[in-house]
Amino acid sequence: MSYAVETKDLTRTFKKGKKKNNTNSKTSNLIMALDNVNVTINSGELFGVLGPNGAGKTTLIKILATLLLPTSGSALVDDIDVVKYPEKVRKKINMVSGGEHSGYGILTVKENLWMFSQLYGISNKIAKQRIDELLKLLGMEDYAKLKISKLSTGMRQKMNIIRGFVCDPQILFLDEPTLGLDVQISREVRRYIKTWVRENDEKTVLLTTHYMAEADELCDRVAIIDNGKVLACDSPANLKKSLKQDAVYHIEVNLMLDNLESFDQIPGVKKFAYEHKTQTGRTFLMFILENDCYISGITEVISNNSSQILSLSKAEPSLEDVFVSLCGKALEDENRTQN
């Protein structure tokens, strides 16, 4: 069967750098960015790769986008080997990375986009028409003639997202495309990505994110990745279903509790994660319990710690809970902002 993207035992290691007095074995000086990753993405699919910073998401995209070579294993894009035939792969792909200030600041928005369309061999007429359409769709028509050095970070990122679509690629790699964008712009971008894939059956998007809501809202399937390993891969609904028989509780307390690790030892606790907010001094606790009857043991431990429970709720399993159940840790603060 043919896939838009297929990886087989894809592995990538990086050297940690020179270390003095390193007496350990050779492998100890290596960081495993991707560890035997096997993923298949169907044509027409909006596929998400979800994981914390440093999980290996960007490394995966870089290999698929022909920017980086794998250490071992193989990666195929539209059945073409990215190592052997990068030129052929490049005709089918484009990539956008979030959270950066890329772009030729001396050129206007339109000039930047036009230049890129030309790199992909798009005729002048079609390019201009498409650029106008995209600028309008993403609410940037008023910025078309502005030099991009004068754009705000959000607008610049929006322009970069348009750059990704302007060549109308068969497969688009979006590496944290909404990173650093405000809620309104993020929503517009998500809406456009969704529409683009839904309206074009043959188009495929691989999106990496560490925003749970983004993955949940956009993706047909999600691979959860941590420390370079794919821990689970399914539709968001199926991933959440896997926790249905468990009881998921979210508790907010007013202090940073001591011995948080001891929560793992409480009977009935399958997984536990927490996040302390230094600004408010509050701590957010997430529990996955075997069943509801174990919650009383939890509240007792919290009370014994002289801490006050500010809120307690039984939650419908979310992707974040799935992530906690698989990784035993929570993602960063931004998730709550995005949510």
Binding site: L68, M95, H101
Partner: protein, 285 residues
């Protein structure tokens, strides 16, 4: 297929040339840019004039001054283009953060860099013309515009510019791997060519082992032929045994070899950069 590829590569070169020109010309308002373009080469020439006057105290022939002046004027291409093309990698990767997107587009990077080099060639050509005009008018350099062998001059000039661009691309490749040291490398290589290619003195004066290097470099023949076509003579005894045609053939041969070496080394380095993840590595240097 082959013609289609040539068309694509030409388009890439043209597009990169346009982008390069936007960058060359857009950094200041046109008047400031024009003033800078005139003053810079004249100031460089004046430095050379004063150095010549101090060192020789007027005891050396004017022919030597013309030899030095012309060599120095055309050598501007070497420094500007070598530095300019290797700077493209640094600028696109660090400043504009666009190298990764250019790299993963369907174009060939080699031609993209070639195109960006053309923009540098254009601005340097303006500087060379201004320098030569300044030399003819104010320093009485004996250049008779009616006696220049234009066909040979133009062939020589373009072959030389081609080889300089190939060298620039080679340096750009090295810059992909060594962001910190690319400036020193460019300066060093430029300095080596300045010394070994007869830019300011005849290669006859160099130690024998260095003369072998000089003779393997197309730029040596380039400068010699430029002097012969413009001044009608040259001062190098070593090269005087060759006719113009022989020099041109040697230059073409060494140019082809150097272009092949440049292409091979660039591709090898690009592969290493892709392997080590340095193509888009921003180190804010």
């Amino acid at each position: 297929m082959f013609i289609q590829r040539i068309k694509e590569n030409l388009k890439t070169t043209q597009l990169a040339g346009k982008l390069g020109w936007s960058m060359e010309a857009n950094w200041a308002d046109p008047l400031l840019f024009a003033i800078y373009s005139i003053i810079r080469p004249i100031a460089s020439s004046l430095i050379l004039v004063f150095m010549y006057l101090v060192v020789t105290r007027g005891k050396t022939s004017f022919d030597l001054f013309a030899y030095i002046f012309l060599g120095n004027a055309f050598f501007m291409y070497v420094y500007n283009v070598l530095f300019g093309i290797s700077w493209v990698i640094h600028e696109d990767r660090e400043h504009y953060q666009m190298l990764r997107y250019i790299y993963i587009s369907p174009i060939r990077m080699y031609y993209y860099l070639f195109g960006r080099g053309i923009a540098k060639l254009i601005t340097t050509t303006v500087a060379v013309i201004i320098t030569l005009a300044f030399g003819i008018i104010f320093l009485k350099i004996p250049i008779n515009l009616l006696e220049i062998n234009y066909p040979l001059f133009l062939i020589t000039l373009f072959v030389g510019l081609f080889v300089i661009t190939c060298l620039g691309i080679l340096l750009a490749g090295i810059t992909m791997l060594t962001a910190h040291h690319s400036f020193a490398l460019t300066e060093g290589l430029g300095g080596l060519f300045y010394l070994a290619c007869g830019a300011i003195f005849q290669i006859d004066l160099l130690p024998r082992w260095l003369q072998y290097i000089s003779k393997s470099l197309p730029l040596t023949y380039w400068l010699e032929l430029l002097r012969r076509t413009i001044l009608g003579k040259s001062l190098s005894h070593t090269l005087s045994r060759y006719s113009d045609l022989e020099l041109l053939l040697i230059m073409l041969l060494t140019t082809v070899l150097l272009a092949l070496v440049s292409n091979y080394i660039y591709k090898s380095i690009e592969y290493i950069a892709r392997k080590t993840g340095k193509i888009d590595q921003v180190i804010t240097y």
